[in-house]
Symmetry: C2
Subunit: 503 residues, 2 copies
């Protein structure tokens, strides 16, 4: 039974890598949240040293030998969890070792220089300063795709990096359907005579009160503060070095408490996924979260399906009004619900509501697809962007900074990342619908603030499943069908028809 020995060796190596990644994650959190500004140079060097060691471990030829020996023996005698660890280890090893050093270095260098080029181009509103970088990254990412997934279309390979197993063949029809349904629906909403008021959401909201409210709601939902923290950073995120050490952040704006509150609910959703990971073998890949899209399904589940629902507003409105009595005097839970759900086309993706958000994503997806298949040129992007914005949302960005230059993703070469946001929203909706069927008291539970059964359901169905299944298998197992955007479309139409009093 040399398989046992080989598997034990593998586990030892994977465990070491996982712990080093946990350390890296804690360092990154510290950098965003705690580190004094003067330390940035030294920290960058420390992180680079640690990254070098992690790279050394993940590409260790002995790891390759060990994997090859296990594969050769076959692993019929191993259980599902072991098989999953081996499969994940092999995938990660291939991803790390199939890229020639020259290419890896070129990508790393470009990634580090491109960010400041992008910042400068945004500042000067000058796309032509950024376009050479974008072209360069595109070439590198095509080459990367050829190295790691030679059998895939290059853009599919890049998508696979974030949303494994998902390809354009699956995404394109879904996005086409969303366009067909949402574009005219958003137009109707804009023309509705009933437009919810939201001026009462503007005012002065002391930050300490915002913080206490957000912390209470995060805890109510189920975030375990003895295995996590909540702090402040420039951009909200969920980090931390281990499922027992999950760290969410938000940012506060004295004039707007909705943004920080819903950022906390969103990040709590990510945090619950991490805290809810399977209890055994947490230092091994089988226990890790599945994909970007599934992670986003968890944050959006709590932010949108729960947090932006009328049941949630009904439960928390009195609490919120007590915290900010001057601002919300005379307002009802229902008008609060309507106000936080206003749909309004905007130039900026990260400020978009749940109806217009998918169109921001689809626009980016179609551009990435066009860049990879050669049907679009980088130099034409500003014009293409603005035309698509007109077509999809009826607005035209006055500057490229508010248009094609707004996102940081391309400056890091993260092509194929955007679709995960909307796939996550669709997953979230489909999961929610199944949960409602299995737990018919869900809405009542939300209305009385009992989130325990909801968290338990997500824990059991998703969080604790780790990487045992592909996203496609997981959604099939949980909901009994493949990813189905019709649930998402029905949900949006029903919700917004009511809010905008459409007939």
């Amino acid at each position: 039974m040399t398989i046992d020995k080989n598997y034990r060796d593998l586990v030892e190596k994977l465990t070491e890598i996982s712990r080093l990644n946990g350390i890296m994650s804690t360092l990154s959190w510290d950098q965003e949240v705690m580190m004094p500004s003067g330390a940035s140079e030294a920290r960058a060097r420390q992180i680079s040293t640690l990254a070098g060691i992690i790279h050394e471990r993940t590409t260790d030829p002995q790891l390759g030998t060990c994997l090859a020996a296990i594969q050769k023996e076959g692993f019929g005698s191993l259980n599902t969890l072991m098989a999953c660890n081996i499969r994940e280890a092999q995938r990660n090893f291939d991803l790390e070792t199939k890229v020639p050093k020259r290419l890896a270095m070129e990508m790393a260098e470009l990634s580090s220089s491109a960010h400041s080029v992008w910042i400068a181009a945004r500042k000067e509103n000058k796309f032509s300063s950024f376009s050479p970088v974008l072209k360069h990254f595109l070439e590198l990412k095509k080459e990367w795709a050829q190295c790691v997934f030679p059998d895939l279309n290059p853009y599919d390979a890049n998508i696979d990096n974030f949303e494994r197993g998902t390809t354009m063949a699956e995404i394109t029809p879904i996005f086409e359907l969303l366009k067909k349904e949402l574009i005219p629906f958003i137009r109707i909403i804009q023309e509705s005579e009933h437009q919810p008021a939201n001026s009462f959401l503007q005012g002065s909201f002391p930050i300490d009160k915002q913080e206490a409210l957000a912390r209470k709601i995060s805890q109510d939902i189920g975030f375990e503060f003895n295995q996590g923290r909540m702090d402040v950073s420039v951009h909200p995120f969920c980090g931390g070095g281990h499922p027992t050490d999950v760290r969410i952040t938000t940012r506060y704006d004295e004039s707007n408490f909705i943004e920080s509150l819903y950022a906390v609910i969103h990040e709590t959703g990510h945090g619950l996924y991490e805290q809810g990971r399977m209890l055994q073998e947490r230092d091994l890949p089988a226990s890790e979260s599945l994909t970007m899209g599934i992670h986003e399904s968890q944050s959006l589940f709590w932010e949108r399906m729960i947090g932006q629902s009328k049941f949630f507003c009904a439960h928390y409105f009195e609490t919120i009004r007590t915290v900010f009595p001057q601002n919300l005097h005379g307002i009802s839970a229902d008008s609060f619900y309507q106000a936080i759900n206003i749909c309004k086309p905007d130039f900026i993706r990260v400020q978009a509501d749940e109806l217009t958000y998918p169109l921001h994503i689809i626009l980016r997806y179609e551009i990435e697809k066009g860049l990879f298949d050669g049907s679009m040129n980088v130099d034409d992007l500003p014009e293409i962007w603005n035309e698509m914005m007109m077509q999809y949302l009826g607005i035209k960005p006055p500057t490229d900074t508010l248009g094609v230059l707004q996102d940081s993703h391309w400056s890091g070469g993260a092509f194929g990342y955007f679709p995960s946001y909307t796939l996550g929203a669709i997953y979230a909706c489909q999961f929610y619908k199944t949960m409602q069927n299995e737990l018919p008291d869900t809405e009542k539970n939300i209305e009385v603030g009992n989130f325990i059964p909801i968290k338990a359901w997500l824990n059991q169905k998703i969080h604790s499943q780790g990487r045992l299944y592909t996203p496609q298998e997981l959604v099939q197992r949980i909901t009994g069908e493949v990813l189905n955007p019709n649930h998402f479309i029905s949900y949006l139409k029903k919700k917004y028809t009511a809010i905008y009093q459409l007939s």
Copy 2:
């Protein structure tokens, strides 16, 4: 010139080790200050993994080969800084590699299990539960001494670990002199008819005000908050991962602001040492702080020589009274100065004042010496401890928890550490005296809150000198003489004769 190549290789290896140590230090800070309690197990494993990698790097045979090649070539052509890096690297390599793996593991295991044994023994006030651990550690540390410094007496080898180059031959006469002078002096003070009042230091001092005051004073003194932080932890300490990322902590007690304030001043002293390290090659050992005793000289310099002086009290008293007006109404700067300098024998070392503190140290030094030379037995320690406490401070601890079991040091095998505290106090006083000669306006400067020349003097004379000299060379270069306890004794006698109105 293969020396160049070898030296470059050495620098690369040392730099990597330094960065990994910086990461370890940030993780330790996080553990004490930020980490949620539920993460302790996972963090311990991450730290153990990183420690393993640091051990792998520090004992790397290639590092040994590289050092041997440099030593063989001789390094006449290298500058002082380079020579220092080589010397330090050789010492560290020897320290790491001369210990057999079996012994290193036995020490690590004992260290990790002994701490909880000590906690339990303290709780039960039962020295006999702790004594087997102490005996075991003593044997291991004697063996360790034989391995790493076979030419030194075993206790001297343990002292050298913290205070290199300092031996019993130097310490014993100094401590004898301190005993001869301080024991009768403390008795006279206790019998003085004038005993300063300090009841006004008790009361209710809001923690946010304590924090703001401490932060202001730390900044006034010269702590750079863009290259450091100040937070809260159970025990105050100075940590952080780099000279540009120095993190001090304190703890707050609503009923006592003096303790937290002077802890901050003390840790700021440590912090200024780290922030003041030489500007070049900060990832190499030549730039590192010299010894425990020299580090302590810097914290005590600010806490005692500056912070507890009447000039400092004169400058800050109005500020402090403004922060806590109810408590300090009708009190003068001079009575504040006297109150914070009350001398009172106490069972507990960490609560001791500057006059009685050395006797706590001398007691521990004499016990360690006795244990190493065999003139004392572990089993007799409670009795020996209590007898010495009577003899030196005139008080007898009612329990071993308040006596021989009070410190954590022995549970970690840190024999030879205690002397550094009092050597630090003597260094601090000797440095202060020289500074006063070189900067005759020092007292006036303190009185007007101008700490810039003081910090600059310490930066130039001590902080930026790194490890270029031994502590013995450094004190000689700065003060023109060897370590001389007479300055310390004169200072204490003059100060306390005035406070206690002795004739």
